[in-house]
């Protein structure tokens, strides 16, 4: 069989696979439809070029297979053709780049009404901190971290007292309300990634990184760690629930604030001291 | 070499020369000896190494929150009970520049095939380099034993100060030391007249030639050049 047929089959197979694939992205649950659209646009432009180039190859392979005595064309260059191709490609690139950059500029600019959510990662798990009534997160310092103060909140920062601490890998957020994810890590790089939200960012020890999104579909979503962080990387999961207003409120009311936690520890200390004193 | 320079004078100069040289056959760097071309490209690569060191230093220094120690005080030297800032570093700088000057003269006399003066200036250069390394050793021991500066921390502020200091000056000092060794070897060779007789090298079995001195010169000036940047960025900043 002529090899051209096999190459042709590869191209057709690729297109068919793309059309019938059962493996496709998860239903989007955030405002980042722009990312999906840009991907689709890239598919159209770049995929089109892929098909054209491959079909051209297949055509050449059929048409110009070796024949004794045939003369190949002798044409070292063709300025006009090369110019046209360069500009066409440049145009294609620009068409891809422009929407990409627009989406990126939205991605790095958080809307002012976003709720701050601190995601704190460690080997290998997640916990979260939400601002309290004052709407602000207290400042932190890794060196402050202790059993009582798992987030290392600065004790003299008044904003920190009412912060809501969620010492579990389950996070709830409100539908249609933008959240700004502030990422911290106490040890190595991690990455807070929910495929349905599309967005992701590394959490880097020593600095705070961020991204934002607006969840728009109620449901339960799995958090994956998307930056290699040691042997437990693959098991570093969490859960995000997108709730409606009411459920979110209920959940929030059950959570402890930093002062609650501190008070609890104070109490424990007092108890222990009392016991010691009794003895 | 001089013959090739005379070839070069008949080639187009300036930017015209640039295109005609790259468009020509056989050599792109007209009249440049293989070894010399190789040294230049090596130095280019080495420049990237030192640049990466200095860029990392700059990035870390810009982003540490802890106070960066004040080099002018850290590196002060007591003269009669008065601390003179950066005195030792200033002397080291002058010593290295001096050795660069003697190296330039050694190269000059090498090309004039004046083996005595050439050898002598090489020797001076080597001694200059040795002095530099000696002073650096003194400085290191002073910092380590008297000031308590360690690669992992120091009493003055940001821990990275010591880390970068030892790493960068250490890497530079290694370059100087290697240069000194070669300077001694070459000065002996010059005195012995190897470059005149074209004696074959021990390892490579290539003929000795006075070009070797220019090549070594490039290396030595480069070491000096790097120090200019270290002096400005590390000590004066």
């Amino acid at each position: 069989m002529h090899p051209g047929f096999i190459f042709l089959a590869v191209v057709i197979g690729s297109v068919v696979f793309h059309l019938v694939t059962p493996w496709w992205w998860t239903d989007i649950a955030s405002n980042w439809g722009g990312m999906d659209d840009t991907i689709l646009l890239t598919f159209w432009i770049a995929g089109g070029v892929f098909i054209l180039v491959c079909l051209f190859i297949v055509y050449c392979v059929f048409k110009f297979s070796y024949k004794e005595g045939r003369k190949a064309e002798y044409k070292p260059e063709d300025n006009k053709l090369e110019k046209i191709l360069t500009w066409a490609t440049a145009l294609g690139v620009a068409a891809l780049l422009a929407p990409g950059l627009v989406v990126w500029s939205q991605f790095i600019k958080t809307p002012s009404n976003a709720i701050n959510v601190e995601v704190m990662a460690w080997q290998w798990g997640w916990q979260y901190r939400l601002p309290g009534e004052d709407g602000k997160l207290g400042t932190t310092q890794v060196t402050n971290i202790s059993d009582e103060n798992l987030f290392g909140i600065n004790l003299d920062d008044p904003y920190g007292k009412d912060d809501i601490l969620i010492q579990s890998s389950e996070l709830h957020i409100k539908k249609d309300k933008p959240v700004k994810i502030l990422l911290r890590s106490v040890d190595v790089l991690h990455n807070f990634y929910v495929p349905q939200f599309r967005a992701k960012m590394d959490s880097v020890p020593g600095v705070v990184t961020y991204y934002w999104f607006e969840p728009n579909k109620i449901g339960e979503y799995e958090v994956l760690c998307a930056e290699y962080c040691g042997v437990g990387h693959y098991g570093m999961r969490g859960t995000v629930f997108v709730d409606n207003e009411q459920n979110y409120k209920n959940w929030l009311n059950e959570q402890e604030t930093f002062s609650d936690v501190m008070a609890k520890f104070e109490q424990i200390k007092l108890d222990v001291n009392k016991k010691l004193a009794k003895k | 070499m001089s013959e090739q320079t005379s070839i070069n004078n008949n080639l187009p100069q300036g930017f015209k020369g640039l295109t005609s040289d790259f468009g020509s056959d056989q050599t792109a760097f007209k009249g440049v000896n293989w070894g010399k071309a190789m040294m230049w490209i090596f130095l280019l690569s080495d420049t990237f190494i030192f640049s990466c060191f200095l860029i990392s230093y700059m990035k870390v220094r810009a982003s540490v929150v802890a106070e960066w120690p004040y080099p002018s005080e850290v590196f002060a030297l007591d003269v009669g009970g008065v601390p003179v800032p950066l005195l030792l570093i200033a002397i080291m700088t002058f010593v290295l520049i001096t050795s660069s000057g003697t190296m330039a003269l050694a190269v000059k006399y090498g090309y004039e095939k004046n083996k005595k003066l050439c050898g002598m200036f090489l020797l001076f250069t080597a001694l200059g380099g040795l002095t530099f390394v000696g002073m650096q050793a003194f400085e290191w021991s002073k910092l380590i034993f008297h000031e308590g500066v360690r690669p992992w921390g120091n009493p003055f502020g940001a821990a990275q100060f010591g880390s970068f200091f030892f790493m960068i000056t250490g890497f530079h000092g290694t370059h100087v030391s290697i240069g000194v060794i070669f300077l001694f070897i070459f000065s002996r060779k010059a005195f012995r007249g190897d470059f005149d007789t074209g004696k074959k090298g021990f390892f490579t079995s290539m003929k000795s030639d006075y070009v070797a001195i220019e090549i070594l010169g490039l290396y030595w000036h480069f070491v000096d050049l790097v120090w200019v940047f270290i002096f400005a960025f590390f000590y004066l900043w």
């Binding site: 997160l137 207290g138 400042t139 932190t140 310092q141 920062d157 502030l182 020593g206 600095v207 705070v208 990184t209 | 070499m1 001089s2 320079t5 070069n8 004078n9 080639l11 100069q13 930017f15 020369g17 640039l18 040289d21 790259f22 760097f29 007209k30 009249g31 440049v32 230049w40 280019l44 640049s51 990466c52 860029i55 700059m58 990035k59 220094r61 810009a62 982003s63 929150v65 002018s72 800032p85 950066l86 700088t93 520049i97 660069s100 000057g101 330039a104 003269l105 000059k108 090309y111 220019e214 010169g217 000036h221 480069f222 000096d224 050049l225 200019v228 940047f229 002096f231 400005a232 004066l236």
Partner: protein, 113 residues
């Protein structure tokens, strides 16, 4: 002055000893000047400009005269200098990155937001 003298000398690779002594002297003077910047405790932008200027002048002199780059053909000179644009780009971006890092550190660990 120096230029005029050196142009004439372009004929041979060996140069009059004068030029080396000249440059040697200049390097001394420039090093002395940069030392003085520290001595007089200039601060801020002034210090910054002076240090960099003296540094670049010294580097330029060493490369041009001591390393004979001034007499080399443009092919070599260009081959050596163009790659420095990559370094320049790296420097600029790392300055920006350093500033961004320190900003986030101060903002989230000290100032609060």
């Amino acid at each position: 002055m120096v230029m005029a003298e050196t142009k004439k000398e372009q004929q041979t690779t060996t140069h009059k000893i004068g030029i080396y002594l000249w440059i040697w002297g200049l390097l001394f003077v420039l090093s002395f000047f940069s030392y003085m910047v520290d001595w007089f405790q200039f601060q801020g932008l002034l210090r910054w400009t002076l240090i960099v200027t003296f540094m670049l002048l010294k580097a330029g002199l060493i490369m041009a005269i001591f390393m004979h780059l001034f007499w080399e053909r443009y092919a070599l000179v260009n081959a050596l200098l163009w790659p420095m644009t990559a370094i320049a780009c790296f420097i600029c971006l790392m300055v920006a990155e350093g500033k961004y890092t320190v900003f986030t550190r101060l903002f989230y660990f000290v100032v609060g937001g």
